[in-house]
């Protein structure tokens, strides 16, 4: 052993230098730490810019500084009104999104698989998808009143087209080769659908569902602005009428926070449950 190490002293020296004691964390943790640090710096810079714009450019009424927003947040959360409004908005998003996603999945799988159905449905859907949820508010109020049903319907509208288009794309883009290979191995059409097409479409469907989730959160606010007696949109509207800009900012930050958390949760759940289908090149 001694002779072997004696033969090649240079390579040992290189190894020793590479693992010097200064490197007290391995590469993976260093990368994580760096990312976390950058997020902190980004948020700090954002807060500083907010503060600066508030103090020196627009004044604390038009843009309340961060500490004023925190001061407004404390009583709002203590009284429970913020939580109530946030939960109202969340429940509307949840119901509308779940319904829209389910219907879109069903229709999308059908359209992707049955050519005639696709050719009949596609022109209509392609035409109607230019109606944003906001454009549908007036008629939704006439149809459903200002109750919960109208909000569900609007979130449904915001969800369905995105999920539908991505589901159809996922089904249609299932590699022909993979289906042919399964046919050779004796698969029936039903087996091909269940065991080949559905799993192959999962990545597309998940992307569509994620985009639609953001769309659902975006759409609930205008719906509540125009016709509601609760929810974050309603909070925005009331605060605006009373010129309480600090409360408006509390609601705005809340919308971002909820949306962000929902998206992360979505990624966590799909990443865990559908991992093997998503890790597909």
């Amino acid at each position: 052993m001694a002779s072997i190490s004696g033969l090649d002293p240079t390579s040992e020296g290189v190894v020793a230098a590479a693992s010097s004691p200064r490197r007290w964390l391995n590469a993976r943790w260093r990368a994580r730490l760096r990312r976390f640090g950058l997020v902190l710096v980004s948020l700090t810079l954002g807060l500083a810019a907010w503060e600066a714009v508030s103090l020196w450019v627009f004044g604390p009424f038009l843009i309340p500084p961060p500490q004023a927003v925190v001061q407004a947040f404390i009583p709002m959360s203590a009284s429970g009104e913020l939580l109530h409004d946030a939960l109202m908005s969340l429940s509307r998003v949840f119901v509308g999104y779940a319904a829209g996603g389910a219907v879109a999945l069903f229709l999308g799988l059908l359209m992707g698989r049955i050519r005639l159905f696709n050719d009949l449905a596609d022109p209509i859907l392609d035409f109607m998808r230019f109606l944003s949820p906001t454009a549908m508010i007036p008629i939704a109020v006439v149809w459903f009143g200002i109750g919960e049903l109208a909000k569900y319907a609007l979130v449904f509208w915001a969800t369905i087209f995105i999920v539908l288009i991505s589901t159809v794309a996922g089904v249609v883009r299932t590699p022909r080769i993979r289906q042919n290979a399964a046919l050779c191995l004796g698969a029936s059409q039903a087996q091909i659908f269940r065991l080949i097409v559905l799993p192959s479409a999962v990545p597309h469907i998940v992307v569509g569902l994620r985009l639609a989730l953001a769309s659902a959160f975006v759409s609930i606010i205008p719906a509540e602005l125009l016709a509601a007696d609760s929810g974050l949109g309603y909070l925005l509207q009331q605060s605006s009428l009373l010129q309480q800009t600090d409360r408006i900012f509390v609601a705005l930050v809340m919308i971002c926070t909820i949306g962000f958390c929902a998206d992360r949760l979505f990624q966590l759940i799909t990443g865990t449950l559908l991992r093997r289908y998503l890790a597909v090149t």
Partner: protein, 276 residues
């Protein structure tokens, strides 16, 4: 294990192994295939070809000459426009597990969300085999292609050559009569390809299945085939020449006999390209 890999179709074809061996697996008479209605493209025109049981036949031709089209017809993915195409005396109506197709793009052909073992079991699962049965059978097939120790990995974790061997194992599991191979090793490096040729010949000799192998590589055809069908350049492609390669295996690319055949085949390919 060998007995287990025999096909019911072959057993049904004749009582004695000798007659079964010479039975016609594919019979094509004046076969043609036209794509499109308004601007028809004649891919194949007047294909006459008989492929016998246990034979290793290579379809050789330039890119776009219709080799893959012919293979798709044999598999049953496409229907002929006119002419007759029989599999063991019966018209081909659609894909069947007697004729398993192999693809160059293993990523698309395999199920990337399943492990190596599950991929092999896939065909058996379709038939409703019980877990224990299909597990045992899959293991046999994986052993035959040397993938047993990788059975818990997913396809993206194994090399390109291993993925092609996985395709072979998956096909073996359903006990096919015919392997239809569409440039299966075209995307592999030269060294791996050589090794795959050995593995394929080994499987072919053990199972005595029939292989139809599409390639544009003259040397590959020479190393593998009993007979080489040279296709003319499309449109309206047909079988221009049929060459028997009566050399012992394993064949080495440096063999002078192979070199003679090589020149002959290259000449054929050249003239068919010029006449087109």
């Amino acid at each position: 294990m060998l007995a287990g890999l025999r096909t019911p179709a072959r057993d049904a074809a004749g009582p004695s192994p000798l007659s079964a061996r010479h039975a016609e697996v594919f019979t094509a008479r004046n076969l043609s295939k036209v794509f499109g209605d308004e601007q028809p493209y004649i891919a194949l025109d007047g294909i006459d070809l008989v492929i016998r049981s246990g034979e290793f036949l290579c379809l050789l031709g330039a890119s776009g000459c219709g080799k893959s089209t012919l293979l798709n017809l044999l598999a049953g993915f496409e229907k002929p426009t006119s002419g007759e195409l029989l599999y063991r005396g019966r018209e081909i109506r659609g894909p069947s597990k007697d004729r398993v197709m192999f693809f160059q793009d293993a990523n698309a052909a395999l199920l990337p969300w399943q492990t190596v073992q599950q991929n092999v079991e896939f065909g058996l699962r379709l038939q409703g085999l019980l877990y224990s049965e299909r597990h045992e059978r899959a293991e046999e097939c994986l052993e035959l292609v040397g993938l047993v120790e990788h059975r818990h990995k997913v396809p993206s974790e194994i090399s390109g050559g291993m993925r092609q061997r996985l395709q072979i194992a998956r096909a073996l599991a359903v006990d096919p009569d015919v392997f239809l191979m569409d440039e299966p090793f075209g995307a592999l490096d030269a060294i791996t390809r050589r090794r795959m040729h050995g593995a394929l010949l080994d499987v072919w000799q053990r199972t005595q299945c029939t292989i139809v192998f599409v390639t544009h590589d003259i040397l590959e055809a020479l190393v593998l085939a009993d007979r080489i069908a040279v296709m003319s350049t499309g449109p309206g492609s047909h079988i221009a020449h049929l060459v028997s390669v009566e050399l012992d295996r394993p064949r080495h690319p440096g063999d002078p006999c192979l070199g003679q055949h090589f020149e002959e085949l290259e000449g054929f390919l050249h003239t068919t390209a010029l006449s087109a």
